[in-house]
Structure formats: C-alpha cells, structure tokens
Symmetry: C2
Subunit: 546 residues, 2 copies
C-alpha cells in the first residue's frame, strides 16, 4: 500500500516516481532509531509534497536531474533546521501555529492538491500552485481532454470513492467484522492500481503512464549544492520543517494518547531532522510523519520500531525488483488516489466552529484558507500565523477593566455590572484584566483617570491586580504618573493581590516608595481596611500587606 | 530664536535653508486652528529632520529643486497618513512604541545627529546616516580641515555650551532672578548667530556660509509627484508620521499635565496631519510639535492659539525681509546650535534603569540604540518595536503557573512556595498566570498533566482562572483534552473565578457540557466544597457557581 502512495506523492511534488520510493526507505529506518513514537511512519506526505513542489517551481530548473538534486538539498536543509531547533529545544515555535490556522491550512491545502490533480484525470496539463493558476490551466487545456485517460482516471476515482464511502457499510452489513471490512477498504488503492495497470497494458491504451522506473538501491551521496540554491531554498525549507513537524507531532500525539504513551516533542525534532537528512542523502525529498501510513502500523498493533524496519525492507525490494511492474501504471490512477486521500483532510467545519466561538479565531482561519487557495501554501500559512499573533497583541493592547464590589457573605469581588455586590462611594476598585505593558499603559492611564474625574465622594482608588501577570517599565512609569495625578486630585492609590513575580519587579523600582497608598495581600483586606478608615472607625489600623 | 533653529534643521535635513523657514510658517497657523494643545509649537524638529534626510538620500536626486519637491511630497504623504489615522482613531498605534524604545531612539538619534554635524564644524564633508558612515567620512576628510571654520564653529560651540551649563548659575549667583537668567540663556543661540555672522562679514572669512536665501512668501502649490516617488517615500513617511506624532503628543501631554489641561490624542493626529499637508503645500518639509519651541510658548504663559499666529507673522517677516542678513551666517554656527540642542536629548540612563528593572525592556532599548546608530533611524526604531513585541509574545507563550493554597484565616489563596498556606492532598489548585491562547495551550496541557502524574491521593484538579483574561479556540480544545485525560486518570477537573467575558465564550462551546467537575464562582467556594466532599462529610452539598 505504501508503494502507490510513495509514487503518487512524488508525482505531486513534480518529481520522478522513484524519488518517492527512495524517500520512503532510509528515513523510515532512521526515524525508528531516533523517534519516540512507536507507530509513527515517516515518508512522503501530501501537504509537504505540495510545499516542496511550490518551493522547487520558482527555481526555473531545466533538467530533471537538477530538480531531483534540488529536492534532495531541500530535504537536507529541512533536516538541518529541525536538528538545530531540536538542539535549541525550540519545539515551542510550532505552538505559534494555532489549531484553527492548522485546520484551515490543511483543509485549504487538501482542496488545492485535489484541484491540481484534476488535470491528470483529464489527461491535460492542469498544474499550478494557486487555485487561479490551476483553474486557468484547466480551462486552457479542457479542449485537449484525453478520453481514454478520463475513462481510466474517472473509473479509478469512482471506485476509490465507493470503497471509502460505500464498501465498509456494505461489508459490515453483510456480516463481515468491522476490522476486516476496514482492511478491505484500505487495500482499495492497491486494487485500483493493479486493475488500471493491467487494463492499460492489456489494451495498450495511449495514456500517460509512470513509465520506466530505474531499478536499484537509493543513490547514496551528497547532492550538489551552490550558495544561490541554498539561499533560495532556506525560507521554504524552514516553513516545510515547521509544518512537517506540527503534522508529525500531532499524528504521533493523537496515536500515543490512545495507548497512554507519551511523546517527547523536542526529541521528535531531532528524529525528524535525522530522517530528512537521510532522505536528502539517499535521493529522496522532504518527509514527515504521515497519518495514513501511521494508522496502518497502529491498527497492526505495532509495539516496537521493527514495524518500520519491515516496511523499509518491503519498499527496498520494490525498488530493486518491482519497478518494471509500474511501467503501465496510469498517472490518472495515482491522481485519483491522491484526490481521495486529500479530500479526507478537507474539513470546512472549522469555519462555522471558529465563527461561533470567537471572531478573532475565525479571522485567522479565513485568512489562512483564502490566502492558501489564492496565493499558495507559503503565503497562506505565514499570513495565518501573522494575523493570529497580530489579533492577540491587538486584544492585549485594549484591556478589559471591570469595576468590582464585594459579593455579599464572601470575601470575593466581582464586576458590579454582572453581580449584586457591595460597594462604597469613597472607594473604587478597578480590576485590570490584562498584563500591563507598553501597548496598553497609556490606555489604562486614561481609563483610570476617566473613571475618577468628577466622583466627589471618592477618597481611595484600588487597582486589583489578580489578572496582572506582568508590569513592564512603560507600565510602571504609567503607574507612577497615575499615582501622581490621583495625588493631585486628593485621591490615594492602592494595589491589591499583586502576584509574587510582579511584586519582585516593583520592589526593584522607586514606585513603591512613591505610592500614596498601600499594597494589600488580598482585595478583601484592602476593601475592609479602607472602609473602616473611610467611615472614621478604626483609623490607623491599616493592615500592610506584601 | 525660531529663525536660526529653522535654518539649522533644514541644513540637517539636507535642504536649502529657506525650506526650514517655510516649514515654520503655515503649519504653525494650521495647528493653531486644529490642535488641542494651547502651547504646542509645530515646525521642523531635529529627529524628524534627520529622518527626512535619511528618506531623501536613497532617491539619488540630482538637482536641489528635485530634492525640495520630494521633501514637500514627504510632508504631504506624512500629513495624509496622519489624517487617515485620525479618521480611523488609530492613535493607539503610537502605543506600540514603548517608553524604553522611545527613550533609546531619541538618545541614539541625538548622538547620530551630533556626530553628523561635526563635519560642518571642521569645514569638511562629514555626512552619513549611520555612525560608521559618518566616522568614515570624517576620517577621510580630516586632512582637509578648514581652520577658519574650526575656529568659528569651535567658538560658537564653546559659547553655547557655556551659556547652557555655566551662564544660568553665574547669573543667579549674581542675584539675577531664575526666570530672567533662563531667558538670557535661551537667547544664547541668537547671540552666537549674530556674533559669528558679523565676524565672518567683517573679516570676509573664507568659510561655508548659508549664502543667498531667496526672499519672499512661501511658494504655494502642489509639488510634482510621480508614482515611483510616492512608492519610495510611503514607508519612510509612515515612520516619520508615527515618530513625529509620538514626540508631539508627549510634549503636549507633558506641558498640559503641568496646567491640568487635557489633550485629545485622536484630534492631535488630525491637527498634525493638517499641519504637514500645509507644510507640503507651502514648500516645506515634515514638521511636528517640538519641545524647545513649545517650552518658549509655555514659559511666556501662552493661553490661546494667538501665540502661534504671532510667531508665524514674525517668521513671515523674516522670510520676506531678513533673508539678506543670513548670507554670512556660517554653517558651522548652525551646526553648533544643532549639536548643543540635540545633546540635551541624549540620556543614556535608560540603559541601566531598564537593566535593573527588566531584561526584556533592556533588550528592546539596546536593540534600538545600537541599530539606530549602526544601521540608521528607520531600521533602529522598527527593530526596537519588533523586539519589544516579540519578547512580549514570547513571555505570554511561557506562562507562570503557581500551585496555590488557602491563606489561614482568610478566603484568599496564594502560591504555596511563597506563603504559609493550607493545602489538601486530595485537591490541587493551579493558578494560571496568563491568558490561554494558541501559543501557550500545549505547554499548559503538559504542565498540568506533569503535576498530576503519580499523585496517588489526588481526586480533584482546580484551575484558578482569576488571571485568565481570554481562552481562545486552541486553548478551549486543550482544556477539552485535559478534561478527558484527567478523566482517564480518575480525576475531576474544576474551574474557579472564571471572569464574565471568558465564561460567556465558554458557554458558546461544548466544553462546559463535557467538564467532569464544576465551575465555581470563587476559589474559596471550590476549595471548601471539594474538601467537604473529599473528607466524606456533606456529600451532595456542592454549590454550583457560574
């Protein structure tokens, strides 16, 4: 089953089919040595193949040998980047891809890949790296549709869709056990490959086929690389590394969680890096952990890395002896297997789901989906990350400030607009729902001063800092200014519930010395103490906190 | 006093001196109409002049007329950007320049400007937009030093330094009132200008002078602009707009605060935008509110915009009738006035101050200072903003999580490592000190699971959300995963002190339906309720909160 998949993804990456085989052998063994997942299978996958195609296309290379060498260089660069990230324990970089951005990216990539394969089904050139490019190529090529190809490709596609959608219910309905039925469904692509290859050979159809695949061991050695090539590929390699890593780790974690095993994300960086170096040294192209191939291992109950080694031996035998069998394999069949595989990745439900949860998440998804489709995978995912980070920063720059009062019968304080609480006209407590830093310092200054202007009975202002996780130098200077302005208005400024790390920082400044009021350990302390003072009872009994 | 300053800053911007005069007239009147500050004086200032020089230099314009037209286009673009920002109420954009970045930028610019004027004092070409460029030019030109220029420039510089440092103490020591002494010190530049001009004329010194300044009204009209020029200047114009706005607003706010007046930051955008449009239409270059010229208004007790109008009339008379008087004004004298003015901006104390407060603030300052000096003003300030934002995001991606217990005798909960608190082996409460979003969701997942693994007596996990200001879609999915994993381990997950806006969001998801435990209004409720349950007393009396 791995063989047609490897051939197909090489086709998707714009590479000769044997490159897909080579990329499936050594990396699989290397991952088995370094990886922490017992079931992850490393090799060519759809999204990374598409990204590789999009990285290689602008180089304008003429000969196939040059493109193959550049693909190997891309794998080496990607491996080196992953190893460096692993050495620096930079797995956290992948966290900047939010779930919605990943979901949107995978969905849009799936649509883009499926669209790019329609040309192969029609027997025409339908290539391109964005939806407009593909649509234009298909429109131009439509009159040259090859009907023999369309019949073979259409039949393969219909068969594969039926196997996936209709066969399992049919078999289970006929009394076959669920597990056996799933296995039958999974060998569907193999049946399609054998069937269409035989038909093409027997009828000597004039359609695009894989053709002569050189038999032999993967060619070991360093590909030729010049500084210009490295410079052109370093950016795409970084993006492929991060996307490949995120895909691989999420597959590994999903499967590990089902068996109560744990994955070490930083070690995974090293293992994937080594696998890509292996791919680059053995005539392959960038690889990562794929969902479909790993699930096979998982279902087969793989408990040791031996499963990977066995698969590698099988692929090696195929590369050595079976390549003549693929001569008459129609490209349209491979395109059909790609389309069916990637359409299962498409899940547009992230759009309504993020819309109903939070508009910022929706904006990030929509940007990712639209720009991936319209401007390509690299711009799409980079814009998604940029938009989600920008929206996060924008929200922190406009903090929520709640005026709070005491919940009756408790020492707890909540928003006066949402709860029935006890307040005091001489005291206003503002709970600042954000870390204080340069981007919101001035705004907070204005909000506080606006609240106190014209409140004639007011004596004390308490800033409740339970949600303030940080006060940077700009914000500390703003607090100094607030303290001074409130002093001018005859008001005293107090802080409550300042956290340990924030308090440590304030102690290293002059602010606490200038503060007109006190710092209370709890908001209840602050409110109770200041109320007693304000009402004239118990003056001088202020409880100083820290 | 405004006249030599205007001439000097035009020289700094690489423009003919009359451009400085023109930029001081109409913008002053326009600001008086639209501005909210009663004392702010708009015109050429040092930092913006330097930025204009750095924007115009790479254009490679040959004739002076072209450079003058490009400077006017720069003012128009800058004005348009400010007006658009004002219309969209985007004054908040300026907040992304942190105090340390601004302080570092102003200091580094001051050093850079002072260095760039040394060549004029030596009578050689010492131009450049970075410290290495200037040092190289000075080193190359040193053998050609013009001694007459050096004597005049050195004398002017020494006199101005003495006036600033030594004259005021001397006069006040001699019984002159502080205010009168300050006024004498302020007319020092005028004395230097008149003295060196007369000396140059009387002795017919062979040194670089301002030369023939055309007399007349500012030339009204739209400068010629082509799309290429607009494209080349739009980036620098945006940067000039933001920096100019920040400088102007901070001057206006500083002076307004002293008189208990208020400034409307969004209206200031409109006023500055209109002033720059006026500068562009009357042969000027980008302007902003300057500290030195505004302080004069302030000290003179200006209460109405009439002060600006009067100054504009004075400058208009100068432009019409006094320009012949500036013919023999040595450029070295103007350079000396610039050096003395900008060195008062240099304040390196921000480096130790930010170092002792927070390393992140220090990193932002250091980046700004070094890159401004070594790579120019634009790269310097842009890198400073980028570094401060990146460090903020980086910190939020690695949140502080504290395990908390009850402070005895109160309903308040604090870190078990910092305070003597009550804990219960069956309950662990983790206070998450950060909003939960994509960049820290996975990390939080790991931290929580790490804490609970192997704690055999544990029954309940409470996440105290008092510092969680937001939960985005990625983080909500992580919470679902945590809930499931804890369920697998036989543990119940509870939330406490979830804020109103966050709760609203969670209610729109399925998470609350899946949650194995409850959401408590206060941490005390949660701890007390679960303790009663755990100890077997009062089972079923759980107080549900929201």
């Amino acid at each position: 089953m791995l063989i047609p998949q490897s051939l197909a993804y090489a086709l998707l990456a714009g590479l000769p089919s044997e490159v897909g085989l080579y990329a499936s052998i050594l990396p699989l063994v290397v991952y088995a040595i370094f990886g922490t997942s017992r079931v992850l299978a490393v090799g060519p996958v759809a999204v990374v193949s598409m990204m590789a195609a999009s990285a290689l296309a602008p180089l304008g290379l003429q000969s196939v040998a040059e493109v193959v060498a550049a693909a190997a260089v891309l794998a080496l660069l990607s491996g080196a980047i992953l190893l460096v990230m692993g050495a620096l324990r930079l797995g956290v970089v992948a966290d900047f891809l939010s779930h919605p951005v990943i979901a949107g990216f995978i969905t849009a990539s799936g649509l883009l890949i499926a669209a790019s394969q329609i040309g192969h089904i029609l027997g025409i050139d339908g290539g391109g790296h964005t939806l407009p490019e593909i649509a234009h190529a298909l429109w131009q090529g439509l009159p040259q549709t090859n009907f023999a190809t369309l019949v073979v490709g259409g039949a393969a596609l219909a068969f594969l869709v039926w196997v996936r959608r209709g066969a399992v219910p049919l078999l289970t309905g006929a009394g076959v056990r669920k597990r056996a039925a799933t296995t039958v469904a999974r060998i569907g692509p193999v049946v399609a490959v054998i069937g269409t290859t035989l038909a093409t050979w027997a009828l000597q159809l004039d359609i695009a086929v894989v053709g002569a695949v050189p038999a032999g061991l993967p060619p070991l050695g360093l590909p030729s690389m010049d500084p210009g090539l490295l410079q052109a590929l370093i950016g795409p390699a970084a993006l492929i590394s991060v996307i490949g890593y995120v895909e691989s780790v999420s597959v590994a974690q999903t499967l590990a969680a089902k068996r109560r095993q744990r994955i070490d994300p930083d070690q995974e960086l090293v293992a994937l890096g080594a696998s890509n170096i292996a791919a680059g040294l053995s005539g392959g192209y960038p690889v990562t952990g794929g969902f479909a191939r790993s699930v096979v291992n998982f279902d087969a109950g793989a408990q040791t890395p031996a499963a990977g080694a066995l698969a590698a031996i099988g692929l090696l035998i195929a590369a050595l002896f079976l390549t003549p069998l693929f001569h008459y394999l129609p490209k349209a069949t491979l395109a059909a297997t790609i389309i069916v595989a990637v359409l299962s990745l498409v899940d547009l439900s992230i759009l309504p789901r993020s819309w109903s949860y939070a508009k910022a998440d929706f904006a990030a998804v929509l940007t990712t989906v639209l720009l991936t489709l319209l401007a390509g995978v690299e711009i799409g995912v980079a814009s998604g990350v940029a938009v989600s980070l920008a929206l996060f920063v924008w929200r922190t720059a406009r903090p929520h400030v709640a005026e709070v009062g005491q919940v009756p019968g408790s020492q707890h304080f909540r928003n006066i607009l949402r709860h029935q609480v006890i307040i005091d006209p001489a005291i206003v407590t503002l709970r600042i729902d954000q870390s204080l830093y340069f981007a919101n310092a001035r705004r907070m200054e204005e909000m506080i001063l606006e609240r106190v202007f014209g409140a004639s009975e007011l004596r004390h202002v308490i800033l409740m800092c339970s949600a303030v996780n940080e006060i940077d130098l700009s914000a500390m200077e703003s607090l100094e200014a607030i303290n001074e302005r409130l002093g001018d208005l005859g008001l005293t400024l107090h802080l409550s519930e300042v956290k340990g790390p924030v308090m440590d920082r304030l102690k290293s400044s002059r602010f606490l010395g200038q503060l007109s009021g006190q710092v209370f350990l709890s908001q209840y302390d602050a409110f109770a103490t200041l109320r007693r003072e304000a009402s004239g009872r118990g003056e001088g009994s202020a409880a100083a906190g820290a």
